[in-house]
């Protein structure tokens, strides 16, 4: 998922298990937090009961990348994929 300011500009779901309503409030808190954070957040992972929520920012473009995945997924893979996604999409957005 990609959030720009407080608007979701891109959302993609793999599988059908994701319960959007359960996690939506967390996204709002995350948006607030990232907005207030003075520095770039290359990557961070939050653990909830059932999901891992990885996020990464691009403050220049005001973008927040969120990757919700299973609690059993290894952090290393999540971080790599999140950073790759951030890098590729940011390059695409900057090219516009």
């Amino acid at each position: 998922m990609i959030i720009k300011k407080n608007a979701i500009i891109y959302k993609r779901e793999y599988g059908e298990t994701f319960t959007w309503e359960c996690i939506a409030p967390l996204f709002m808190s995350l948006t607030y937090f990232v907005e207030e954070a003075p520095d770039e957040v290359p990557h961070d992972i939050l653990n909830t009961v059932f999901y891992k929520i990885g996020y990464s920012t691009n403050k220049k473009l005001n973008l927040l990348f969120i990757f919700v995945t299973d609690i059993n997924d290894p952090d290393e893979i999540i971080v790599n994929q999140l950073q790759d996604f951030n890098k590729s999409v940011s390059a695409l957005m900057e090219a516009v």
């Binding site: 793999y14 059908e16 808190s29 990757f67 299973d70 994929q81 996604f85």
Partner: protein
């Protein structure tokens, strides 16, 4: 922001008139305004030839101006008496009549108009407050990008997250064969006696040669029941294993209910295991009772490995491209498994592997160089063709070396080197043979039902090699021995 754009004609008109006339209001010929306010619009249209809607709008504004002038005259009188708007609204008509000297109808009209304007202004204040609240509160709104941009990001997402392992939870009562199913899918030694799983085992398997799957083999004992809900919640697919007995069928209804409650959106299937045992319920009956698609299974038979992988593929909606590779994967795994028992990794073998890999790397470099040259000489057709031929040859060499390396590794260094590709759809089989003369050659043969053997001839020395048609697998094994 859209709320703010909703036209409020009355407020806009009042504001517009105030802005437009403002200080000049008193100078306007009141009689003309009054005339205009009371005019017949059709008459105006006839005389002026302006459109009807314009005339109506004009008359409406004139009426508002007339009211405004009237308002202003009353407000002037009220101000002289040090009356505020709030007091005016709260005062009764008679007080107002005394203060302003206007008629009862006019005063009633004034109070009515004043209350409307107050309500409108209050509403506007409420609206602006709501809008500012919406802007400051964390309110996520979906505003998707253009379809083209979304599609481009989709491609990036598929590329980045495509290799993400899928998760399948295997649940069921104790002793029904969950660990056996897991072992079968992994091609591991099938347990001969029941060893209960403690909490949950997480195993990784690969389906179709590329798609990773995490299998959550859950403990079926009731003491771990508090974990079942958690395991199924994060899964892409759920498999309920039943042992096909009437007692277990009843027991398994609990798991069906649990899925409906904890993960209603997740795809689920049932494996009716132990179909080889006497008295096993038919899978159709189990499907009817539990309401999920049910596959019959004998988990202790390795021959069912392909079927179990296909069930996984169906469950996670594996792409047909990868799903079609499952039969080949099963055959290759079978060969590797059998060879692994005999392979002894010796220093000599490692040396050979390194040498073959280095050769492949060298060919890769040659290919890279050719590609760069091709870019440079693309305009010169003849030279381009020549380089293109070189590229094809280099690629063939690379493929040969790769096959040789593969056979070398699989045979523990003892192989005469042989490999094959089977194109099941067309019944074409590619045989790769290392001839006695040392040459390695590949030949594509279309096999038919009538054929019993395939004859392959070495293009270098002409030595013929006769291979039984259906025995490429045995040939493969024999070559290693």
């Amino acid at each position: 922001m859209q709320l703010e754009k909703i036209p409020d004609l009355e407020v806009e008109a009042l504001q517009g008139i105030q802005q437009k006339f403002g200080s000049q209001l008193k100078a306007i010929n009141i009689s003309k305004i009054k005339d205009l306010a009371a005019c017949d619009v059709l008459d105006v249209v006839k005389k002026t030839k302006i459109p009807l809607y314009k005339a109506m709008e004009f008359r409406k504004k004139a009426r508002l101006v007339r009211e405004l002038i009237f308002f202003e005259s009353i407000i002037t009188k009220l101000t002289a008496q040090k009356y505020t708007v709030q007091q005016t609204i709260e005062s009764d008509v008679e007080t107002l009549m005394k203060i302003t000297g206007e008629s009862k109808e006019r005063c009633l009209d004034f109070l009515f108009q004043l209350s409307i304007v107050t309500i409108i202004l209050d509403t506007k204040v409420c609206r602006s407050l709501s809008i500012s609240a919406l802007q400051t509160e964390p309110y996520l709104i979906e505003t998707p990008l253009s379809p083209e941009k979304t599609s481009e990001i989709d491609n990036i997402a598929d590329e980045v997250f495509g290799e993400l392992p899928a998760k399948i939870a295997i649940i069921g009562a104790s002793g029904v064969g969950k660990s056996t199913i897991t072992a079968l899918s992994q091609f591991e030694r099938i347990p001969e006696k029941h060893i209960p799983t403690i909490t949950c085992d997480v195993d990784e398997i690969v389906v179709g040669g590329a798609q990773k799957i995490y299998l959550h083999d859950t403990g079926g004992q009731e003491q771990f029941g508090f974990l079942w809900g958690r395991w199924i919640k994060g899964s892409d697919g759920i498999i309920i294993v039943v042992d096909s007995t009437p007692a277990n069928l009843e027991e398994s209804k609990f798991f069906v209910e649990m899925i409906k409650k904890e993960a209603p959106k997740t795809a689920a299937v049932i494996i009716a295991n132990k179909q080889d045992l006497p008295g096993a319920l038919p899978h159709e009956q189990i499907e009817q009772e539990l309401g999920y698609k049910t596959y019959p299974m004998v988990g202790i038979d390795y021959a069912n490995r392909e079927q179990i992988l296909n069930i996984f593929a169906d469950l996670i909606k594996l792409s047909p491209r990868l799903a079609n590779l499952i039969p080949t994967q099963v055959k290759e795994d079978t060969v590797i498994k059998e060879q692994e028992r005999e392979i002894e990794i010796t220093p000599e073998l490692l040396e050979k592997i390194d040498a073959a890999q280095a050769e492949i790397d060298n060919v890769d470099q040659v290919i890279l160089g050719i590609k760069e040259n091709m870019k440079a000489v693309q305009e010169n057709e003849e030279e381009f063709r020549k380089l293109n031929t070189d590229l094809i040859i280099a690629n063939v060499q690379k493929r040969r070396r790769q096959m040789e390396l593969r056979a070398l590794v699989m045979s523990g260094g003892k192989s005469k080197c042989l490999a094959f590709d089977v194109h099941q759809d067309t019944r074409n089989v590619s045989y790769v043979i290392r001839c006695e003369c040392g040459n390695i050659y590949k030949k594509l043969v279309t096999v038919s039902r009538g054929m019993k053997t395939v004859v392959l001839e070495c293009p270098t020395c002409g030595t013929k090699c006769e291979v039984p048609k259906e025995s490429w697998y045995e040939l493969y094994l024999a070559a290693f021995k």
